[in-house]
């Protein structure tokens, strides 16, 4: 959401709530149906892997646990950034945003590594219905994380150059909401896709 307010967020609106935050929450509510559809597709097809390895053969739970932990910690650094932004502490805001972006990149890196490993084990995108739906679901999540990383880095740059066009704390908070949502989706994927045996 790029349209930002000049006055304090929520100033002069009917409910006293910020338009931007309201819009962001609606977007996240909408995203529930996007990821819901992808997760359901995976659930329907996870057992269909004739002619290729199945979930039990390829999943590397220790590795995925580590990357889940990384993403979880990035949520912590994100809230620290939000708190710093609220305290008008630019230095710490930028610091924690950068750390969040780094942790996010680490997660995406882990995913790239995981996908490569799967591919070497004979699990390509078109190998089976299981592989197509798995790569589609986790790929969509990965793209969401990557977009988040890009937004975080852009925000750091914009804050550094003093070019923010609206309320700074709110901008950080909005990206934070998006970021936590992506984390929350991973909490669900990690359990439903990786941990619960098919």
């Amino acid at each position: 959401m790029a349209d930002t307010t000049i006055h304090a967020p929520g100033h002069g609106t009917t409910t006293g709530l910020s338009n931007n935050k309201l819009a962001m929450w609606m977007f996240l509510g909408s995203e529930c149906l996007l990821f819901g559809g992808l997760i359901s597709t995976y659930m329907l097809y996870r057992g269909r892997h004739e002619g290729g390895p199945g979930p039990a053969q390829v999943f590397d739970i220790p590795l995925t646990s580590v990357s889940s932990f990384v993403l979880l910690m990035s949520s912590l650094t994100m809230v620290l950034a939000v708190n710093a932004a609220k305290a008008k502490d630019d230095r710490n805001t930028k610091l924690w945003l950068t750390v969040t972006a780094l942790l996010g990149s680490l997660f995406v890196g882990g995913q790239v590594y995981e996908f490569t490993a799967f591919y070497k084990e004979g699990l390509g995108f078109t190998t089976s219905l299981f592989s197509s739906s798995f790569f589609t679901l986790t790929g969509f999540h990965g793209v969401h994380v990557s977009i988040g990383v890009m937004m975080l880095l852009a925000l750091v740059a914009i804050i550094s150059r003093g070019r923010i066009t609206g309320d700074k704390a709110e901008a950080v908070e909005m990206i934070g909401l998006y970021w936590h949502f992506v984390d929350v989706v991973w909490v669900v994927i990690f359990t439903l896709v990786y941990l619960i045996p098919a």
Partner: protein
């Protein structure tokens, strides 16, 4: 825009959690994640699936309520999200039911 007397009071409460509160929350979440992961090494038998689902739900709402501070924010924000979440759960569960997903 003119001042709206009707809704002059700002809905945003400012009892925002402190850093240490967030760090403790993250620790709890990490603990839960460790517990989840342990099902890979320890055999919980038929308890594994319900346990994992419960842990997942708790983590989900802790992040939502604390990190996304839905607990401290306007109910309207929550409503927007929960409508989407509820609809998603409803329609996709029903669709999976028609595929006999839960009885197979």
């Amino acid at each position: 825009m003119s001042e709206h007397a009707e809704h002059a009071e700002h809905a945003e409460a400012h009892d925002h959690p402190t850093n240490s509160y967030f760090i403790w929350t993250a620790l709890v979440l990490a603990l839960f994640t460790a517990l989840e992961t342990s099902t890979y090494w320890i055999d919980f038998g038929s308890f594994a699936t319900p346990l994992l689902l419960i842990l997942m739900t708790i983590k989900f709402f802790v992040i939502l309520l604390v990190f996304m501070h839905l607990k401290y924010d306007s109910k309207l924000f929550g409503a927007m999200f929960y409508i989407g979440l509820g609809l998603a759960l409803g329609v996709y569960t029903a669709a999976l039911c028609t595929f006999q997903f839960f009885v197979k």
